[in-house]
């Protein structure tokens, strides 16, 4: 039930209930993360063959290296104990050692994180501006050529995966026109930004289309509501009605859907970073899978799922700010 109606007074009772809901949400989140970590840990045992030899496959590890693995994964202990030891390490940021880089997994991932965050940040900005913008145009110009254009872009955009967009952008703006670099991360702030433009566009195409669609639908839903007519009947200028009522009230679905898109976006960084030869967490994942550096894979999978869970929990917690009808106890699902 999305709208649990509470008729009690405005002031009293709200704070504690909200805190309780937050606690409950945190508990749910912790459970999800715990189960996820368990799945990721035990997936190791799905792999064919002996786990130790799987972890060192294709390499001839030194005896110390074998010892560290044995210690971290505790291969002589019973399974729950092994999991516990591993989880303890993970919680302290110890994801094991990368054999590809001869470094701690945490350090490797950490050093790649800024590039990926820049890419994701710029993409999110593009998605928010163009996705919401195009959705607004489509809804307000419903049935005109502008709306048809928006719908066409949504249909095609949703079908253009980021790696296809990457190839096309690279070909046209990188190679043919030479406006943007086609490879690498760049050095220094401006150069990095210059390098991230095409990848960010490539990453944002699909998600912009999805956000556009959701924005347009939600705005059209709101435009039909009576409170919009009431506001107009009171002489509030149309522009203000659109901003203060239509767009504001459409925010709920837009934010909810956007939060669900986050995980897909994080994974797509693997495609875009690979296509543009950027050194980020995404390309690290691909590299690690290709070179069978399983501990790096485990760490990144956990990271992606944790980011998704955290962001959605945050959205759930802040949702009452967007729609006060979602009373403290009634979370969105």
């Amino acid at each position: 039930m999305p709208a649990a109606t509470r008729r009690s007074g405005g002031r009293g009772g709200r704070g504690p209930a909200l805190a309780l809901a937050a606690l409950r949400r945190l508990a749910g989140m912790a459970t999800t993360l715990l189960v996820t970590s368990f799945l990721v840990f035990s997936s190791l045992y799905l792999a064919p063959g002996d786990p130790v030899s799987f972890l060192v496959k294709g390499r001839s590890p030194s005896p110390q290296e074998l010892d560290t693995i044995r210690e971290q994964y505790g291969f002589n202990d019973p399974f729950p104990v092994r999991y516990w030891h591993w989880l303890e390490g993970v919680l302290q940021g110890d994801f094991g050692r990368s054999y590809l880089f001869h470094q701690g997994v945490g350090d490797v991932v950490w050093s790649r994180l800024p590039a990926s965050l820049l890419l994701i940040g710029v993409s999110m900005l593009l998605i928010a501006v163009f996705g919401v913008g195009a959705g607004i145009v489509g809804a307000l110009r419903r049935g005109t050529w502008a709306d048809s254009t928006v719908l066409l872009m949504v249909t095609v955009g949703a079908a253009v995966p980021s790696f296809v967009a990457a190839i096309l952008l690279r070909s046209v703006f990188g190679v043919q026109l030479g406006w943007f670099p086609t490879f690498g991360n760049g050095e220094g702030a401006l150069d990095r930004l210059h390098h991230v433009v095409l990848p960010a566009i490539a990453l944002s195409v699909t998600f912009t289309a999805l956000v556009t669609r959701v924005t347009r639908t939600a705005m059209l839903d709101e435009l039909r509501r009576e409170h919009v007519e009431v506001a107009l009947s009171r002489g509030i200028p149309r522009r203000s009605v659109i901003r203060r009522h239509v767009l504001r009230n459409a925010l709920g679905p837009i934010v909810t859907v956007s939060a669900l898109l986050v995980s897909g976006m994080l994974v797509s960084t693997a495609l875009v970073e690979t296509a543009f030869g950027m050194a980020g967490v995404g390309s690290l994942l691909v590299q690690a899978v290709s070179q069978q550096d399983f501990q790096v894979v485990q760490a990144i999978v956990l990271l992606v799922v944790a980011a998704f869970v955290l962001i959605n929990a945050l959205v759930d917690l802040l949702y009452p700010l967007i729609d006060p009808r979602v009373a403290a106890q009634g979370s969105a699902r």
Binding site: T155, V156, A159, P161, V175, Q176, V267, L271, S290, F308
Partner: protein, 292 residues
């Protein structure tokens, strides 16, 4: 209590799903998309006979040939014929996602029906598990599968089936829970039929159109995910032709300003996914009774 005879209640309000699907045709856009999909399906089935050359072999003397009589769409840096690769690539590119969707849909229906039928804590537990699965994007699960089982298509296809399962299971659970409370189902149960019989006879026909619409949309996404995996070099391995790996192979061609061998499969992917999305949305609209 008013006498509702068993006979009248037992007559299931069946909406013949096939007749609904037969009336599939819609706007010119939907029809065009259906034709596109049909063409690609025929090409996939008849690929070995249709391809003018064997895309697995390339002559280095014919690297980066321009489009012409010998190579309709030119060749890539390995001298492979792009047109033939495009045609033979339809197989892995379409049958991979098909396998994902079939597995996901069948398993999703089973899980959804079971969950709705048992209700109670079983239902709640399954719901929690599905919630957790939602946090794993399909591509991530597929990559994890590759990390464990090595490159190729089998493990990722199964992993993605698991990733897509929650969508169908959730949908079926909701539909089945709603249908379950209707009188014809009660009538079946009163008559002593087993849950499996009631599900298959009574529930399934009524939820098929909705599930099909969901499966159609899933197909488009599964195609994108599998192509992405091959693009990363983790899925279909050369020399087996595949659209995703063609794009991967074509990257260096792009840098040498001969982008055709990468752009052709890219356009094929976009075209097929657009067609699937349009048809899927049209189906969903039909089922929901939206639009005329």
């Amino acid at each position: 209590m008013s006498a509702v005879t068993l006979d009248s209640a037992a007559a299931p309000p069946r909406r013949d799903p096939l007749r609904r699907l037969r009336r599939l045709g819609g706007s010119w856009l939907v029809n065009t998309c259906l034709v596109i999909l049909a063409v690609f399906l025929v090409v996939a089935l008849a690929a070995p006979w249709l391809a003018p050359q064997d895309p697995r072999f390339g002559a280095l003397s014919e690297t980066f040939a321009d489009p012409g009589a010998a190579h309709w769409l030119g060749t890539d840096q390995g001298g492979h014929d792009t047109f033939s690769a495009l045609i033979e690539g339809t197989r892995t590119s379409l049958f991979g996602p098909l396998a994902v969707v079939v597995f996901a849909t069948v398993a999703g229906i089973a899980v959804g029906l079971f969950s709705a039928w048992r209700g109670g804590w079983v239902d709640a537990a399954i719901g929690r598990v599905l919630d957790i699965l939602f946090a794993f994007p399909a591509l991530l699960l597929a990559i994890l599968a590759v990390a464990l089982f090595g490159k190729g298509l089998t493990a990722p296809v199964l992993a993605m089936a698991v990733a897509y399962l929650p969508y169908t299971a959730r949908l079926v659970r909701g539909l089945a829970a709603a249908e379950k409370s209707r009188p014809y189902i009660a009538a079946y149960r009163v008559q002593g039929h087993s849950p499996v019989f009631v599900s298959v006879r009574g529930l399934l026909p009524n939820i098929t159109p909705t599930v099909l619409a969901q499966a159609t949309v899933n197909f488009g996404y599964a195609l994108l995910d599998l192509a992405a995996l091959s693009f990363l070099g983790l899925g279909v391995q050369p020399p087996t032709p595949d659209w995703g790996s063609m794009i991967n192979q074509g990257q260096s061609a792009v840098l040498q300003e001969r982008p055709l061998s990468a752009i052709v499969p890219a356009l094929a992917i976009v075209l097929v996914v657009v067609a699937f999305n349009v048809v899927g949305e049209h189906l969903a609209d039909r089922v929901a009774g939206r639009d005329a």
